[in-house]
Amino acid sequence: MSAAMPGRAPPKKREWSWRSGAFRGLVYQVLAVLVIGLALWFLVNNTLENMRARGIQSGFGFLTQPAGFDIGEGLIPYDALDPYWNAFLVGILNTLRVAIVGIVMATILGTLLGVGRFSRNAILRGLCYGYVELFRNIPVLLQLLVWYLVFTEILPPIAEPISVAGLFYLSKAGFSFPVPVWGLGQGLSAIGAVIGLAIAWGYRRWAQRQFELTGNARSLFLVPVAIVIGAALLGWILGGAPTAWSIPEPGGFVMEGGASATPEFLGVLLGLVFYTSAFIAEVVRAGIQSVSHGQVEAAGSLGLSRGQSMRLVILPQALRVIIPPMTSQYLNLTKNSSLAVAIGYPDVVSIANTSLNQTGRAVECIAIIMLVYLTTSLSTAAFMNWYNKRSAIKER
């Protein structure tokens, strides 16, 4: 730039005076950092001094010592002689298990309830509304406790369970259901499904590109689904088409065969699912309502059917509004799973609480809890942000 440009002030020299905004900003920041730093130093110093005064040992060394307590249920083998880190691992997996199953179930139930609010049937509409208002206005801890009470007090004892078709049993011992006996056929079937998923993904991309090039629309849903199911079926047949199922049978004291979910797990799961689905229903309703009516009318005037306009016009636009609040609901559900400690489901908080009481290392145990949840929250948030960016409006 030449000096001929009028109205352009010469570059300012840094001004070391209180009148300069930049200087004041610098001072404020230095002050803020100093104050926070001093406060942290004060807290850490006090903590160390307190620990010395009370003879509390610190450090994560205890993680390799034997835990010495039993855990009711877990996804990996564990016994009381295993070290603490193993117990924490069991707890983390239990947290993830209840969170993932809960998220899937709450999404399905919540979406149904949210769509139900738009039903043409007044009773259905009213029921969905009543459900949402009831379940989101009761503390989730209370719901957990009530479900747990129902499972441990109200249901019949294990000797005389409630049975559905002789396949499913509900009793104080929890919920038992049949599972296929795992064999070669099931393994091949799972491998087939994974391969089918990859092929279906490739097909979808190819079909989409073909559509953009030639305008010939191919099914983007039915054909990929058929590919996945076909591949899984092929694997199953190759493995000799096994049909053996392990069916639960009520014994005197335990359920024999099948698979079971414990009352603790079910209490946490049902409490979380019923509570969160009320919020998800509201998220879905708000998302659908946010699509302007003109869009629906435009879709109709282009000749799209009701289903097509829902799938191709309304949902993609509603999804954009739905995803951010849905993410925070998923994170809420995961964080609320920490309430499992109240009913004795061995999640990570519960394990940490037991370890804390046994070893007295409060700082370390609470740090582990926070670290686990922070990692889950931040990684979920990162993934959902990526997905959100993908489905955002592509603007110039």
Partner: protein, 368 residues
């Protein structure tokens, strides 16, 4: 001209009625075949199961606090007598019986002030003064030890007063902090901005229960050797820090909704940063996010039930404590749960209605 006689044509059929009871039923319950099926299925389910529910809850239920009748009706009818017997212990916790007028009065004061604070006409400077007066009065009434009131230690506080107190003070104390954090997060100064972001994201990333564990196990370590503040105070600090992070995000939403022109206009009038925020931005932003603040309050109100886990007997804890104290009555915990569920629901539902009402009012002014 041929004589033509008047030939009336057929009268047109009356238009189909679309207003009134019967057309409403036809449209909303039997609109198409799917709707008909839904109505029939729901009606069938109601006929099948509602009588059982009604029998259990009303017709075969025992309302008198007599143990024998409750035990006789066990399995067939509810025992609401358990509530008639224990309602004082459930609502007021372990507070000494002859002093129970104190938590009642203190809670009424607090709830009254909360209601007054929700009405816009009263948003005047004296409201802040009133809060500053009522908070110590509440603690004096509850704790005693002066003005001739018997001292009652905080471990005896409990029930609904504790729930309301934790929620109210949690939000009220978090409010100023959250405004500072929200402003800090939108500040131009990178160090302050990152401090605020780290605080908000850290707190929002962890569950409340871990914050409460921290308040219960770690706060005593944080303070100088020998100082050991009351567990109630520690939990209140934990809840405040937790609520402030969520509230800050709500307030930030309001700040973002204020058009930039407002700030620029204020600056061109020569207002300083704090004058701009105090006189121009915050009044508009806070009015917009009032429903959001209310939702935060509802969330905290429900979350106070968690302090049971760190041995403070608010409503949920007081109920368990009252019923566990008597082995004969312990089997009727479900009825006790229903009772406190009703209390929680009444409070939360009323607050969410208020929040909706405010939202509607705000939109009305926006729509013109």
């Amino acid at each position: 001209m041929a004589a033509t006689t008047f030939q009336p044509i057929e009268p047109r059929a009356a238009p189909v009625a679309t207003e009134g009871f019967v057309p409403w039923i036809r449209r909303n319950l039997f609109g198409d075949w799917k709707s008909v099926v839904t109505t029939v299925v729901i009606a069938a389910l109601a006929v099948m199961y509602l009588p059982d529910v009604a029998n259990w809850a009303i017709f075969r239920a025992v309302f008198a606090p007599t143990l024998d009748e409750c035990q006789a009706a066990r399995g067939a009818g509810a025992c609401w007598g358990v509530i008639a017997k224990f309602y004082r212990a459930i609502i007021l916790g372990r507070y000494p019986f002859e002093q129970q007028w104190r938590p009642e009065l203190a809670t009424l004061l607090l709830v009254g002030l909360l209601i007054v604070s929700c009405i816009r006409v009263f948003w005047k400077p004296w409201l802040v003064v009133l809060w500053i007066v009522v908070i110590p009065v509440f603690f004096v009434l509850m704790g005693g030890g002066m003005l001739g009131l018997t001292p009652v230690t905080t471990d005896q506080w409990g029930g609904l007063p504790l729930t309301i107190m934790l929620a109210t003070f949690g939000i009220v104390l978090a409010f100023p902090l959250s405004i500072l954090v929200a402003l800090g997060r939108r500040s131009n100064l990178p160090a302050i901005r990152s401090l605020c972001i780290v605080y908000v994201e850290l707190v929002r990333g962890v569950p409340l229960i871990s914050v409460l564990f921290m308040a219960s196990f770690m706060f005593p370590l944080f303070l100088p050797v020998g100082a050991s503040p009351d567990v109630l105070l520690r939990v209140l600090v934990g809840i405040t820090l937790f609520a402030a992070a969520y509230l800050a995000e709500t307030v930030r939403g309001g700040l973002q909704a204020i058009p930039k022109g407002q700030v620029e206009a204020a600056q061109s009038l020569g207002l300083s940063y704090w004058q701009t925020q105090r006189k121009i931005v915050l009044p508009q932003a806070l009015a917009i996010v009032l429903p959001g603040i209310m939702n935060n309050f509802i969330a905290i109100f429900k979350d106070t039930s968690l302090v049971t886990i760190v041995s403070l007997y608010e409503l949920t804890g007081a109920m368990s404590l009252a019923l566990n104290s008597d082995a004969n009555w312990r089997p009727y915990k479900l009825e006790g749960y229903f009772f406190i569920t009703l209390i929680y629901f009444a409070f939360c539902f009323a607050m969410s209605r208020y929040s909706l009402w405010v939202e509607k009012r705000l939109n009305r002014s926006r729509l013109r």
